[in-house]
Amino acid sequence: MDFGSINPVLLIASLMVASTPILLAALGELVVEKSGVLNLGVEGMMIVGAVTGFIVAVETGSPALGFLAASCGAVILAMIFGVLTQLLLSNQVATGLGLTLFGLGVSALMGQGYVGVRPPASPKLDIFGLNELPVVGPILFNQHGVVYLSLALVIGIWWYLRATRSGLILRAVGESHEAAHALGYSVVGTRFAAIAFGGACAGLGGGFLSLVVVPTWVDGMTAGQGWIALAIVVFASWRSARALIGAYLFGGLTVLQFNLQAAGIAIPVELLSMSPYLITILVLVIISSDKRRAAASAPASLGRSFHASG
C-alpha cells in the first residue's frame, strides 16, 4: 500500500505527543479506581491543570514550573473531591460530575486574560545528540520530558501496584475497604493519597495539552479528553500497560486518520473518523466478553463510600 507523503517516523512521533494527555489522565484515574474511588471529574481536573499550567508558564516563562503548577492546580481540585467524598461521604458519581462542571467553569474564568497568548516554548529533550539517529532518533530521543515521564509512570505504576507493600495496601483498600480497615490500614488516608495522585496526573496531562500539544489556551480545550481517559481505564482493565496501549491506539488512530486524509489516501473519511471510537468499542466488547475475568479485574469496592462505623 502506498502511503504517499506520510512519513511513518513523524507519524509515530506525533501520535506519542497527541496521546500523552489521555495517557497521563488515564494512569492517574487507574490508581484512583484501584483504591476503590470513582472520580468522574477527570475532565475538570485536566482543564484546570491546562489553565493553571498555562498561566504559570506564561507569567514565569518557565514551562517546567508550568507543568508543576498544572499538577498542583488539579490536586487542589482533587482534594475538594476527596473531602466531599471521603470525609463528607457524598456520592462519588455526582461529586465527580460536579467537579467536571466546576472545573470547566473555573478554568474559563481563570483563563480570561490568556486567550490567544503564546506560551513559552517547551524544549524537547536532547539526549547526547541521540535525536540525530535515523528512525529511532525522532521517536525515542526527541520528545518532551513529559512524554518520557508518562512512559516511566506506566512502568512505575505497574511495579508499584504489583511489587510494593503500599501498592498492595492500596489494592486491598480498593477490593475490600472493610477488610483493609479491620487490618488497621487507613482507608481514607490511602484514598486521599490516590485521589491526589490522580489529580496530579490529570493536571499534568492538561498542562501538556495547553503547553505542548495545542499550544495555546482556549476555553473548554480538553473537549472530552477526560472522558476518553475514563473509558480507557475500563478498556485497560485497570492495568497500566494496557492503558498505554489504549491511549496510543486511540490517539494513534486519530493522528493516523488525519495523515491519511492529508496524504489523500482514498479511504472513506467517515470510516476514518469513526475508527478510533469503533475500535475502542470493539476492544471493550472483546475484553468484557469473558464475564468472569471482567468482573474480577474491576476493584470490588469501586465507587462505594466508606465509613469506619460500618
Partner: protein, 357 residues
C-alpha cells in the same frame, strides 16, 4: 463579567424581576452557542455581537446565552429552556441547530428565532448567514501566492454546503494565483476541539503543507502553524494575536449590525421571517489586516480582489468552472446563482479526494 451576565439573566428569569420604570419590559434576547465564548473564533464573534446589542440598547434589552451547546437533540432542551425563561428572540448560531430550531419554534409561536447558516425557515424563524466564501477567495489568492511547497491544506469541519463553498472558493483562487497548487482537505468532524484541530494542522504540515486554512472555531491551528513556521489565516475572528506570522490575514464575521437591527425589529414590532446572506460589501464579512509578512504586490492583489468582490464587479464563482468529475458547471463569464451555492455539494475540478456524505 460575562458569566455574571448569564447569572443575572437566569436570576432575572427565575425571580421574575419587575418591569422597568417606564412600564416597558426589556426585550429579552437569547443566544445559543456551539462553543465557549473564549474560543477566539466563531462563538467569540457571536458573543461580540451580543455585547454590541447590550451596548446599543442599554437597559432596554436583557441578554442570556448558553455556551457549548451540542448540536442535535440537546440543543432543543437549551432553546426550550430559554424560551420558557421568556426570551423574545433567540439566535441559534450553528448549522446543526437547524432542525431543533424549527421544532422548538413550532412550540413557541410568539418567540422569534434566528438560525445562523441554515436554510429552513418558518413564520417565526429567520435565517442569516454571511458570504464567507468571498473572504475565502481572498485567502485562497494569498495562499496560492505564498506557498513554496505548492501544497496548501484545509481543516474542514463538517461536509455541509457552507464549508464546501469555502473549500472551493479558496482552491479556485489559489489555483488562479498559482497553477501548480495542490490542496489537501482534512475533515475533523467537529467545530471545536483544540487538540484535534492542532493534530489536523500538524498532519497537514507533516505532509508538506506550508499554508493552513481552517474552518474550525479555535485558535489551535494557529498555534500549530506558529510552531512549525508555516502560514495560516484567522477564521471567523481576527485572531490578531497570531499576527504577523503565522496569521497573515483573516476573515472576520461582523454580526453586530445584524443583531442590533433584528432586536430593533422586535422592539418595533416589525420583525418578519427573512433570509439574509450578506458578504463583504455590507460589511458582514471583513478581511483582517494583511500583515507585512505578505509581499506588497501580493497584498495589493488581494486587496484589489476584495474590492472587486465588494463592488460587485467580480463574483467569487465565475466561469469557466468545471465540477470535480470534469462536467461543465459554469460557462465562461457565467456566475453561480445563490440557489446552487446554498446547496453546494460538490468540489470544483482539480481538488482531489471525496466529500464525505
Amino acid at each position: 463579567m460575562k458569566k455574571r451576565t448569564l447569572l443575572a439573566g437566569l436570576m432575572a428569569a427565575t425571580l421574575g424581576l419587575p418591569a422597568l420604570a417606564d412600564g416597558h419590559e426589556p426585550v429579552k434576547v437569547g443566544f445559543i452557542y456551539v462553543g465557549p465564548i473564549g474560543d477566539g473564533g466563531w462563538t467569540y464573534e457571536h458573543h461580540q455581537g451580543l455585547l454590541a446589542v447590550e451596548e446599543h440598547f442599554g437597559d432596554k434589552v436583557e441578554t442570556v446565552f448558553q455556551e457549548s451547546v451540542p448540536e442535535g437533540a440537546d440543543s432543543e432542551r437549551a432553546m426550550t429552556q430559554m424560551a420558557l425563561q421568556g426570551a423574545d428572540i433567540i439566535f441559534t448560531t450553528s448549522f446543526g441547530y437547524m432542525d431543533p430550531t424549527i421544532n422548538v419554534a413550532g412550540k413557541f409561536p410568539d418567540v422569534k428565532f434566528e438560525h445562523a447558516t441554515g436554510y429552513k425557515r418558518a413564520d417565526n424563524v429567520s435565517t442569516y448567514s454571511a458570504r464567507f466564501y468571498e473572504g475565502r477567495a481572498v485567502q485562497g489568492h494569498i495562499a496560492g501566492r505564498m506557498t513554496e511547497t505548492n501544497k496548501i491544506g484545509y481543516i474542514a469541519s463538517f461536509p455541509i454546503p457552507e464549508v464546501i463553498r469555502g473549500i472551493n472558493a479558496s482552491y479556485i483562487h489559489a489555483k488562479k494565483a498559482n497553477p501548480d497548487v495542490e490542496m489537501s482537505v482534512i475533515w475533523v468532524y467537529t467545530w471545536f476541539d483544540p487538540a484535534k484541530e492542532a493534530d489536523a494542522a500538524k498532519a497537514l504540515i507533516d505532509n508538506g503543507v506550508d499554508v493552513v486554512l481552517q474552518h474550525t472555531d479555535s485558535t489551535a491551528p494557529q498555534a500549530a502553524a506558529a510552531e512549525a513556521g508555516v502560514i495560516s489565516f484567522g477564521q471567523a475572528s481576527d485572531m490578531a494575536e497570531y499576527a504577523p506570522l503565522p496569521r497573515v490575514s483573516s476573515i472576520i464575521d461582523n454580526w453586530a449590525p445584524y443583531y442590533i437591527a433584528r432586536v430593533q425589529a422586535v422592539m418595533d414590532g416589525t420583525w418578519e421571517s427573512t433570509d439574509t446572506w450578506d458578504g463583504i460589501a455590507p460589511g458582514m464579512v471583513e478581511i483582517g489586516e494583511i500583515t507585512d509578512a505578505v509581499p506588497a504586490d501580493v497584498k495589493a492583489e488581494a486587496l484589489a480582489l476584495r474590492d472587486a468582490i465588494a463592488s460587485g464587479e467580480y463574483h467569487t464563482f465565475t466561469g469557466p468552472l468545471n465540477k470535480q468529475d470534469g462536467s461543465a458547471w459554469l460557462a465562461d463569464g457565467e456566475t453561480a446563482d445563490d440557489g446552487t451555492l446554498a446547496g453546494m455539494g460538490f468540489y470544483v475540478e482539480g481538488i482531489t479526494g471525496e466529500i464525505p456524505n
